[in-house]
Amino acid sequence: MTPAADEHAVEVLKGLLDANDHEALHNREHFERHNVLAVNLMSSPGAGKTALLEATIEALGKDLNIAVVEGDLETENDAERIRAKGVPAIQITTGSACHLDAHMVHDALHELELDDVDVLFIENVGNLVCPASFDLGQHINVALLSTPEGDDKPAKYPVMFRAADLVLVTKSDLLEVLGDFSPDAAERCVRQIANPAPVLKVSAKTGLGMDGWLDWIRREAGSRE
């Protein structure tokens, strides 16, 4: 489109998410000052984020100080499940918003004492679309893909799975019963979107494959000390 000669226009070239990204940078600096590893967990609703956190706290709670920020549209239920494990949890209720943003996380951080925290898990709102667009200041994105959802989820939601630094195939104790979920096919979908992220099979319920995930967290937390 050719601009009219007398047109008064301003060239901007600025990201729409500039304000969010700026706040995310601020959060990241805050985590780094306190040597905290911040992990953003994303998945569809019901993929097992809270169950994974419960099992993770049980396994690592003695060695690492964990804190959790919970994002949900409504209820304090997930934060209560986490607190029952003896770990501080701040619940963010987003109302109708389908994702967390850096400002919401910033506000939640005011309620958390980070000095004694090694790993902060941010459980994003269950949604495979919107959370992918908002940087929260995390160091690592983990995407959960539960076996009942189907192995082609990464091809259907490429924006989310492209952002993942680690993909966890959750509820993998069900692989045998389901019979139609191929972890290899899921991994192929992840590679097809040019993502080198490891794909690990886990079951928070039976403990299957949890060692790989726990070692990964230990390693990442260790590298921040």
């Binding site: 489109m1 601009p3 047109e7 008064h8 226009a9 301003v10 060239e11 901007v12 070239l13 600025k14 990201g15 729409l16 998410l17 500039d18 304000a19 969010n20 918003a97 389908c98 994702h99 943003d101 679309v129 919107c130 992918a132 667009s133 908002f134 990464p154 091809a155 259907k156 490429p158 924006v159 989310m160 492209r162 979908c189 590679r191 097809q192 979107i193 040019a194 080198p196």
Partner: protein, 117 residues
């Protein structure tokens, strides 16, 4: 449906620019959207009037320019067009590629309306 939050962020930026330029309205807003930004054009268009109501952009037209997806192969160095869920190299088929374009979400240009009186 995070397009409404994005439109609100867009209106914030446009309002700041209009204030700096001393105009009371803007007429056209140009945004470049890559498919891998996670934004849907039609949803953005629907959300825009809601976010723009009562602001300097109340009467403005939102122009969305689609950015194509391009990748560069880490293995053979070729650059090629790609699809949202298939970013493998079109030349050699390797999946180790880097995105050159396709995930942007950029306010490019704002055309000013009437000067503030």
């Amino acid at each position: 449906m995070h397009e409404l939050s994005l439109c609100e962020a867009l209106i914030d930026q446009v309002t700041t620019i209009a204030r700096e330029q001393r105009v009371s309205s803007v007429s056209d807003i140009y945004v470049r959207v890559g498919p891998l930004s996670g934004v849907e054009g039609p949803l953005m268009r629907n959300a825009f009037p809601i976010a723009a109501a009562g602001t300097v952009a109340d009467q403005a037209t939102l122009h969305l320019e689609d950015a194509g997806i391009r990748v560069r192969c880490e293995e053979c160095g070729a650059e090629s067009d790609a699809k949202m869920n298939n970013l493998v190299c079109a030349a050699c088929g390797d999946w180790r590629t880097t995105l050159i374009s396709g995930d942007e979400l950029i306010l490019q240009r704002v055309v000013m309306g009437e000067a503030r009186v």
